[in-house]
């Protein structure tokens, strides 16, 4: 057995009114990768924040290299060799890669002047180790999310960290980038460093991790070697119950065309045509940057249309703003809840009715709070949103519940067409299933649904029809029957129909 690098024992953390962690244990070993697994809100991030000194623990002990420690600031844990790569990247967009890697630790001469050539050559060394071929003088804002992630890792490496914590690092990475990340993790393991790896993606755990610690509702459930556990057991331990098959299949009851898009074109998308019918789920697949979100946002009136038509119920629409779109009966649930999907500082109730407040106001603009409260109570119940009260601020809910609030906001506006952009991103396994059930319920009620997703199993499991996009264009459309991972990927990388086979030969 490898040496224990970090031992967290009986850690508890209380926030006002909430017990976030209760007697949680976590170990990390030299030369091994420990997966930290649990649903959103299980306490993973809180635990890591306690380890790195962001939060103070209420009780419990931490041993680092056999020594009892208590970090009061992130800087203290950093100096002792604990590096963390946060889920939300902490990079300064207007500085260069090199400046970001060595931020606050720039090599300086006697006069205090920064030794730029050393700064760049050192940065280059770390980038090379990560096999990233980018000039360290590039500004962060010009990089893809995957490369940004790598810059964070380079930063952790440059600290000579012995323990590296990665909080859902692959959430925004492409497959190639993920592979590269795994290669780096394997190297870290070979160098006898410890890694704590937080992820929702169970397949990754089997690929890259040696051990797994499972948390549920702030409690420690189990530590186990990955080889001794299978996926079903993991899910069961995480959610505390057995999950039946992931995707609920619904018998089809598809009606007439509701929304028709013809030759839609602007600076983001090129000549896209498709339709979606009553009671149908149209999945839109594609790689990052394929123009799926841009297509949705164009239909929703956020981007100008330079050419083409959007027809709803046979009527040609002229949509210039989200205001127009919602009025016409098109709703959009954003892929980024925190950025533009929800107003985090407002309450659950205020968010829910934000798109439809007009329905609850008299001609003087006064809100009828009784009506508003009752519809919110109704939706909190029917969407099974777990919140202590409708007056709770949305920022205090877990990711899955936030997502349900965002969906509810669109639903109360009673759309004919609902566009869901990555509806289960950053949502835990249990809540995912609930969201699928809800989407199917909307479908059953006759709503036309467009679902954009980067998770191919989700696209395959939920959609009646699948449209694939590549570089702003529609690269193909597949029936549920004919669709599989392989032909979706072919279309997503821009290869068309039968010709693809020739390419593969």
């Amino acid at each position: 057995m490898n040496e224990i690098l970090v031992e967290m024992k009986n850690i508890s953390k209380e926030f006002p009114g909430v017990k976030a962690l209760e007697d949680v244990d976590l170990n990390a070993y030299n030369g091994r990768v420990m997966a930290l697994l649990g649903e959103n809100g299980a306490g993973k991030s809180t635990l890591m924040k306690i380890l790195t000194g962001v939060y103070e623990r209420s009780s419990g002990e931490i041993y680092y290299k056999g020594e009892k420690v208590k970090f009061n600031f992130p800087k203290e844990s950093q100096e002792k060799g604990i590096g963390i790569i946060h889920q939300e990247l902490n990079l300064l967009p207007n500085l260069t890669i090199a400046e970001n890697i060595f931020l606050g630790r720039e090599p300086v001469g006697k006069t205090g002047k920064i030794n730029w050539s050393k700064l760049y050559s050192d940065s280059e060394k770390y980038l090379k180790k990560l096999k990233i071929d980018v000039n360290p003088k590039t500004k962060i804002k010009n990089l893809s999310i995957g490369i940004k992630q790598m810059v964070e890792i380079a930063k952790a490496l440059s600290l000579n960290a012995e323990l590296i914590i990665m909080d859902e690092p692959t959430d925004a990475l492409t497959d190639a980038e993920t592979e590269n990340l795994f290669r780096v993790i394997n190297e870290l393991r070979d160098e006898n460093k410890g890694v704590i790896y937080i992820s929702h993606r169970l397949d990754e755990i089997f690929e890259i991790c040696d051990d797994v610690t499972i948390l549920r509702d702030g409690k420690f459930i189990k530590e186990e070697k990955v080889e001794n556990i299978n996926k079903e057991q993991m899910i069961e331990l995480m959610v505390g119950r057995k999950l039946t098959e992931q995707f609920p299949v619904l018998d089809k009851n598809i009606g007439e065309i509701v929304l028709e898009v013809k030759n839609l074109k602007n600076e983001h998308i090129d000549n896209v045509s498709f339709n979606v019918k009553k009671g149908e789920i149209l999945g839109i697949a594609g790689l990052m940057g394929a123009g799926r979100t841009e297509l949705a946002k164009t239909i929703f009136g956020l981007y100008k249309v330079s050419n083409g038509e959007v027809i709803l119920d046979g009527k040609n629409l002229n949509i210039n703003s989200p205001h127009d779109a919602i009025k016409s009966g098109i709703s959009y649930v954003s892929e980024d809840r925190k950025k533009d999907g929800l107003v985090l500082g407002l309450s659950v109730k205020d968010n829910m009715t934000l798109s439809s407040l007009k329905e609850f106001t008299d001609s003087f603009g006064k809100i009828n709070k009784k009506d508003e409260n009752s519809i919110c109570d109704q939706f909190i119940k029917s969407m099974s949103i777990r919140t202590p009260s409708k007056k709770q601020m949305v920022k205090n809910l877990s990711g899955g519940n936030q997502q349900k609030v965002a969906i509810t906001k669109s639903l109360i506006a009673e759309p004919k067409v609902l566009i869901l952009d990555e509806p289960t991103r950053g949502v835990d396994v249990g809540a995912k299933r609930e969201i699928y059930d809800l989407i199917n319920k909307f479908k059953k009620n006759g709503m036309a649904i467009i679902m954009i997703s980067s998770e191919i199993p989700e696209i395959l499991g939920m959609s009646d029809r699948i449209m694939v996009m590549s570089e702003g264009k529609k690269s193909g459309e597949l029936d549920r029957k004919n669709a599989n991972q392989k032909n979706i990927m072919k279309l997503a990388v821009g290869m068309k129909g039968e010709k693809t086979d020739e390419v593969f030969k």
């Binding site: 703003s321 919602i326 407040l357 006064k366």
Partner: protein, 313 residues
């Protein structure tokens, strides 16, 4: 002592601060806690408070309105010249108020459609309108007169009803309406939402340009009302009236706990903030502190209050 727990103390900290502050002053000076003096404080505060009420709307959306001081002077000058020219009092007031709202509309359009930072946009209109006022008045005060329609007009600034100065009634009315709008109406909800997350508010189907324009119009309208009150009190419009008033209004809003980043704050806090500033200068006057030192004291109080507020967060 259930009601004296930490949470209630924090919630009402600004009122508690105000009360404690008042008690200390009344112990130091026995003229402070007399009815005439208190009414005097309220009347003086009403000038800043009415502007600050409008400023609260603007700051809640994450904006700022530097043009209010100039609007005070301009609308006052317009009202004075109309009344001196023999126009109907109510019509004159209505025109002066409309001009305030129009300035707000222009600010709003520059900021929302023109996508100019509120600070820069209103800095420009502040200078522009001050210049326009000087051109319009030729740099000289415009007398309203004392007879006929002017008498009715002057009543707004110096009249009493049931022993209480008219501006105090106006201030209370303004705050009651502002409270109602922010708490009970759609516009109020949108103001908070826009201040917290503009992108999300827009994606929720709200015409954010309209909301932005509305708050600057409210701010301009209330600045014009202040201009009318001041002109009526002095029976004349001064071309330099309202100079620096924007800063007092911002100070009152910030003292009241409203965040300059938008989304957080309340109109009630602004009342308290304006009162703190009003009581402070009254107290210093009573104690014969020179006005030079008064400015320093005011600056220090704002600084301390804001620092205390930050520390708590």
């Amino acid at each position: 002592m259930k009601f004296l727990n930490k949470e209630t103390l924090l919630k009402y900290k600004s009122i508690i601060g105000l009360v404690v502050f008042s008690i200390i002053i009344s112990l130091l000076n026995d003229r402070f806690l007399t009815v005439p003096n208190l009414l005097n404080i309220l009347r003086q505060t009403s000038i800043n408070a009415v502007i600050a009420a409008g400023m609260t709307f603007v700051i809640l959306t994450g904006g700022i309105d530097l043009s209010v001081g100039s609007t005070v002077a301009f609308s006052g000058a317009i009202a004075a010249s109309l009344i001196a020219g023999g126009y109907n009092v109510f019509l004159s007031i209505l025109i002066a108020l409309s001009i305030g709202a129009l300035i707000g509309l222009i600010n709003g359009i520059i900021i929302s459609k023109g996508k100019v930072q509120p600070f820069i946009a209103t800095l420009a209109t502040m200078t522009l309108i001050r210049g326009a006022t000087l051109v319009f008045t030729d740099g000289r005060p415009i007398g309203v007169g004392f007879e006929g329609p002017a008498e009715i007009f002057n009543f707004i600034g110096s009249g009493y009803f049931l022993g209480i100065p008219i501006p105090i009634y106006l201030m209370i009315l303004v705050f009651a309406i502002a409270y109602y709008i922010l708490r009970q109406t759609r516009l109020g909800r949108y103001v908070y939402s826009l201040g917290d997350n503009e992108e999300a508010t827009k994606l929720s189907g709200i015409n954010t340009n309209k909301i932005k324009t509305s708050v600057y119009m409210i701010s301009g309208l209330l600045a014009a009302l202040t201009g009318i009150i001041i002109t009526a009190r002095l029976s004349s419009a001064q071309p330099t009236a309202g100079d620096g008033y924007e800063l007092d209004a911002i100070a009152a809003v910030v003292l009241g706990g409203t965040s300059l980043a938008g989304g957080v704050g309340s109109i009630f806090g602004t009342v308290i903030g304006a009162l703190i500033i009003g009581i402070l200068s009254n107290a210093l006057n009573l104690m014969n502190v020179s006005s030079y030192y008064q400015l320093m004291a005011k600056g220090l109080v704002i600084l301390i209050a804001v620092l205390l507020d930050r520390k708590e967060k």
